[in-house]
Subunit: 170 residues, 2 copies
DNA sequence: CGATTCTTTGAAAACAGTCAATCTGTGTGG
DNA sequence: CCACACAGATTGACTGTTTTCAAAGAATCG
């Protein structure tokens, strides 16, 4: 297994995926925290996903299709990851059949999580979404800058600040 | 295969899944169109997904966990579906190994689709989301009532109507 | 054809973004 | 270990977006 994977130390703000390049690896976060985001035509960043300890992160679309990615993955903290390339992942799937099931369940869970996020986005206002985020991911909420949370929720940092001051005085 | 699946005719407005019940089936749409939605505490409906011909629909979370669903699935048009229960699906996975791969790819594609929808929700205003919807799903857009599209986009039918009249005069 | 759903419209209110200025904290190099 | 640069957080005034409510007209299922 070790010879099929690579352990890497990643500095704060270092990118492990940049727009325009194919996503060559699935990355497992051993220590630290990452964000995956897109940049729109105005230059605004939008966080699609965070990944902290014991979570996988990759641009699934680009990884399986080999298309150039439209996303960035960047370390928010100094981090350690274990990376695996597609051919090696497929090798492991063949040699450890159980792994297929593990990955199937992982993506099914991520699918359900995303569906709940969509429901949140279309049914709740910004304050409710922020409260839900804190309740659902308390450990992320406490270690992330609010700027990053705002970008994940789809609101401006200024407006998040106003939401927080409203919540504080209640 | 036939003896493991059930073909059903579904009337317009008939439910094939209701909140509080476990989702017992994956349903394959042969003919017609369905929507999956949640109802919040105010009684407002929010469309999570549509499924027309040749698409699968189910509450994935409830189906695999056997938990009571929080969702509804309802026919928007008179429809025909083929349903399969979990035990029979697992039987088919064992007898037709390729089917595992087919389902894996299906859910990976749905995952990517959902991720793009989230990106849309957090990065675009209502007008852009509506235009994107029409471009991405032209055949759905033409057969669905605007009420249902508004509910999918997370806006009110009244505001969608205003968006449409703005687009029309351009 | 009739009942029901869907669509449109308008005015007022609530929600969220923009821009600019200031304040706070903290990572890094010296 | 200190100082400084820089990212992050807050505030306020103003603008823009979306909702709400009510009412009327159009389309469509049965």
């Amino acid at each position: 297994m070790e010879e099929r994977t690579t352990k890497r130390r990643i500095k704060r703000r270092q990118m492990i995926l940049q727009e325009g390049f194919p996503c060559k690896h699935f990355s497992f976060v051993v220590k630290g925290c990452f964000r995956m985001y897109a940049i729109n035509e105005n230059g605004t960043e939008h966080n699609l996903q965070f990944a902290a300890e014991n979570e996988w992160i990759a641009d699934v679309d680009s990884f399986y299709s080999d298309k150039p990615s439209k996303l960035f993955i960047e370390a928010i903290e100094p981090s350690t990851i274990i990376q695996i390339e597609k051919q090696d992942l497929y090798f492991l799937f063949r040699s450890i059949p159980k792994l297929n099931r593990v990955f199937k369940i992982t993506i099914e869970n991520k699918f359900v999580e995303l569906q709940n996020r969509v429901l949140n986005n279309i049914s709740s206002n910004a304050q409710q979404r922020y409260v839900n985020f804190i309740e659902q991911y308390p450990n992320l909420a406490s270690r992330l800058p609010n700027t990053q949370i705002a970008s994940y929720l789809g609101i401006t940092p200024e407006f998040l600040s106003k939401i927080r001051s409203e919540l504080a005085e209640q």
